[in-house]
């Protein structure tokens, strides 16, 4: 008696579980049940699960019956003629989709030669086991599976042609690669996904060698000449958006050039790029802190005291300016209104990004690296035929990661470039490496892909033969220009008077708990104190009651809120955070009393 669950809910019992499951599958194949129904039998706990709910990952497989695939030559011919479609095959029960549960009951053959009577399904193509992105990696059957996954993850972060209508769009934080190319070593997935229409990398010449140690720890060295010819060049778009908000009492924001007497008016220089409507003109070169959209807002909630003051009835400045550390060119200005009918202004800033030290590049095999050095073309190593590599990749990146596909792509790419053709590197069915080597030898090159190279500075020949060839390289969206940050002094938080956090707020770099411990462990007590001086304050303390006293700077008088004026008051130096915690203690109803005494 097996229990039957439909979409996870108990539905009843059946006597013959295998027979029941078989009947459900038969009904699905003959179209009685929806093709989206999956069923599986767990013999260990004697339960049958019939699933029709949404959100299951399913993949297509060819049905095998009595050792014969249901897909025949006739089907293939009809498909080629266009007489049959995919959905017809699914409707005929030739192809079915299995979910993770039903896969447990299936025995899937890898290729049609392997099919035996025990098999229940046949793989349409080994490529179908992978997703679209993973399928783009050439020679994926020559790489550790973990690296393959890393490779496909990197591919998703690469800069390319993300949308062909990009000039009309207002996307947040997007990058666009200049001169994108289709890879020389492709896979079937490139064709299937129409990769030609939106490529995201470039074919470059890669030499696997070290160069003055600047490509250690996965760094790569790039030829300055290649960069000047356009390698890895991209544009970064970021829009600045603001709207005229409406407030209670008929008050509202106004977009326009702010008057000089508004609260918080910046310097005149900051507004220099604005036109009469208070918005920058297109093609204006903007730098950090420059105002892009001028805006003023009505005064904030007024406290009783402020209501009578003249200064408070002035509008306040709320312009949008370029963030700290950013620059670019105004690309596109759009004036429109939002759902509520408020005026909406969007300004797209564009910034050309030329590869620089610290930018991240990756091959399609999870071999990512950061640019460690940009070498003038004249100093780059060159081959006997005068070929200068665009990128130098460190040989130490290969052994522990075992990304053999990276090496195969290199020779395959070389053969493709020299032979003037594309090489098919589809996983499990790509052109065999041996054949590629033979072709390379026939083209007059060393079949191993190695060449004699010469030092670009001295002209001396390298003793070792260098492995050099063509590869498809991708630029990743992580660029130093978006991340670089340092600070010596800067803004502090209002509450704690400690430095702000994060690059956007020009924050400090935290010296944390464990870093503090290292100072203590070294006995560097005074250094530690100095490092934590950021919120140092001097406060007057009443020696009578131990409470923080008041220093009236106007009258230059000190007095204790409890004991009054006739009491000894001394200055002490503490962190502002401690003063704050004393106040918090007081709010708890705890009286923290400071007992002062000379330290020495």
């Amino acid at each position: 008696m097996a229990e039957v669950y439909v979409n996870g809910k108990f539905a009843g019992l059946v006597d013959n579980a295998p027979d029941f499951v078989q009947r459900v599958r038969q009904d699905r194949r003959s179209g009685v049940l929806s093709s989206e129904v999956n069923v599986y039998y767990d013999s260990v706990i004697d339960q049958i699960h019939v699933e029709g709910s949404r959100g299951r990952c399913r993949r297509p497989l060819i049905v095998v019956k009595d050792g014969m695939p249901a897909l025949t030559e006739r089907h293939v011919k009809q498909l080629q003629k266009g007489e049959l479609s995919w959905s017809d095959l699914v409707a005929q029960g030739v192809i079915e989709f299995l979910d993770a549960g039903e896969e447990e009951n299936a025995l899937v053959a890898f290729s049609d030669q392997e099919v035996t009577p025990e098999h229940t399904h046949l793989e349409i193509s080994p490529l179908a086991m992978l997703g679209v992105v993973t399928g783009l990696i050439p020679y994926g059957d020559y790489i550790q599976s973990a690296r393959l996954i890393i490779g496909s993850r990197n591919l998703k972060q690469s800069i390319g042609m993300y949308a062909t209508n990009f000039p009309l769009r207002m996307d947040m934080d997007v990058n666009l690669l200049h001169y994108p190319q289709t890879p020389l070593v492709t896979s079937m997935m490139h064709e299937l996904s129409d990769y030609d229409a939106h490529p995201s990398g470039q074919n470059i010449i890669v030499a696997i060698m070290s160069y003055k140690g600047y490509n250690m720890e996965d760094a790569v060295i790039i030829n300055r000449g290649s960069i000047e010819r356009g390698f890895g060049r991209s544009t970064y778009f970021r829009p600045a958006v603001t709207e005229e908000l409406r407030y209670s009492g008929g008050l509202m924001d106004t977009i326009g050039m702010p008057d000089k007497d508004v609260k918080g008016y910046k310097s005149e220089r900051d507004y220099r790029l604005l036109e009469d409507d208070g918005i920058v003109h297109p093609e204006a070169k903007v730098k950090e802190e420059d105002v892009i959209i001028g805006k003023t807002s009505p005064p904030r909630f007024l406290s009783n005291l402020e209501e009578y003051s003249l200064a408070s009835n002035i509008r306040r400045e709320s312009s949008v300016s370029l963030r700290h550390g950013e620059e670019g060119v105004v690309d596109f200005v759009a004036l429109t209104e939002n759902e509520e009918g408020n005026k909406l202004v969007q300004v797209r800033i564009r910034d050309q990004r030329v590869p620089e030290i610290g930018d991240k590049f990756v091959s399609r095999h999870g071999q990512k690296g950061v640019v460690g050095l940009i070498v003038p073309e004249a100093n780059m190593p060159f081959t006997a035929s005068g070929v200068v590599p665009d990128l130098l990749f460190s040989p130490h990146g290969i052994p522990s990661r075992m990304t053999i596909s990276h090496l195969i792509e290199l020779v395959a790419g070389k053969t493709a470039a020299l032979g003037g053709r594309m090489v098919d590197g589809t996983i499990f069915s790509g052109e065999p490496e041996e054949q590629i080597r033979k072709e390379l030898a026939a083209l007059g090159f060393n079949e191993r892909g190695t060449e004699t190279m010469y030092n670009g500075i001295t002209g001396e020949m390298y003793e070792a033969k260098i492995y050099i060839g063509n590869m498809y390289y991708l630029k990743l969206k992580h660029m130093v220009a978006n991340k670089i940050h340092s600070r010596a002094r800067g803004p502090i938080q209002l509450l704690t008077r400690q430095p702000t956090e994060g690059r956007a707020k020009e924050g400090g770099l935290r010296l944390g708990e464990m870093e503090k411990d290292t100072f203590v462990a070294h006995g560097a007590s005074l250094l530690l104190k100095e490092r934590f001086d950021s919120d140092r304050t001097i406060v007057p303390v009443c020696e009578g009651c131990g409470v923080i006293a008041i220093h009236d700077t106007l009258k230059d008088k000190r007095y204790c809120p409890i004991c009054g004026e006739n009491v000894e008051i001394s200055d002490i130096e503490i962190s502002y955070a401690f003063k704050l915690i004393l106040d918090e203690f007081k709010s708890l109803g705890v009286y923290p009393r400071l007992v002062l005494k000379n330290k020495y």
Partner: protein, 376 residues
Amino acid sequence: MHKDLEEYADKLPLKLLQEIEESCPAGKLKKVAKKVFEEYTIARIDAGEAVGLISAESIGEPGTQMTLNTFHYAGVAEMNVTMGLPRIIEILDGRKSIATPSMEIFLKSPHNKGKDVKELALQIKETKLGELVSEYGMNIVDLKIDVKLNVDRLKEFDIAPAVVAKAVEKGMGADASVKLEGDSLTLKLKEKEDNRGLNALYRLKEKCKDVFVKGIKGVRQVLPVKRKDEYLIITFGSNLKKVFELDFVDTERTTTNDIYEISEVLGVEAARQAIIDEVFRVIETQGLDVDIRHIMLVADTMTASGEIKGITRYGVVSEKASVLARASFETPIKHVINAALKGETDLLNSVVENVMLNQTVPVGTGLPALITKKGK
């Protein structure tokens, strides 16, 4: 003591002095002692060194490299001892009940030659009725259970049926009467208000399985092993006090990995040593290198109060003198309010408080100070 060494009597440890006296010719004693004193002074830690923090880092950093790991004894199913990081955490937390208590019972000569080690082991092992029974028969009408004893087992464990009957009678107490016939026991349920019917009979059956018959309570498994050229018994489950009462046990070398038991039976000093040994053993088996003095310092802190205190908010942290230091660890409001109720004073003597106040911490360069006298 030799007169040449007398001047170092209060400068060098006694053990060192004895070693010098034993291993050096009398004429050179003075010279050797002088050199030893120099080396000893250099090796000593300097005043103001942040020993606690260095210990914490020295144990904590290798701790990140430790793997989860249980140690299995070959040949015996279900016998493994917690090792690795979980064990270290268990010890330093000062847990009362540990995951895998275990003893190493050394035997006095001639028992340690291995002749009767198996019998001795079975004598120690806690035996329950359930292990000695071959069959239960439930008599629902008379509310009786017929328990048929396994004769082979009884022989193996060297127990007479009468002994079993007596143990069962004691164990069942007021719940049932016990009668012995040949090699089977009959348990009759004593009916009471809340104790009648089929359910009560079932409960009785389950309860009688757990009746303690023989051995030492808590010693669930025994494993005689040969180490070098003597036999000893490794146990799973621990009861040091009862084991020490056995006349064939070498009480000088027998140990348990239950620190609390050691503390109860042998005192805190032994517990301190046990903490050091246990932690050090784990670190050693992980192939890590931590100076034993760091562990000694931790063990000292844990046992300094006379009883074992874990390195937790309930243990040593709650003993900290500084209110601010306690508050900075966990549940600050609770600590501050309690301190306020007692009117505690924080003397700002330690590191954390001074970091909070941004004052120099009293270690290293924060300790010495220059005092100048103002002229008139």
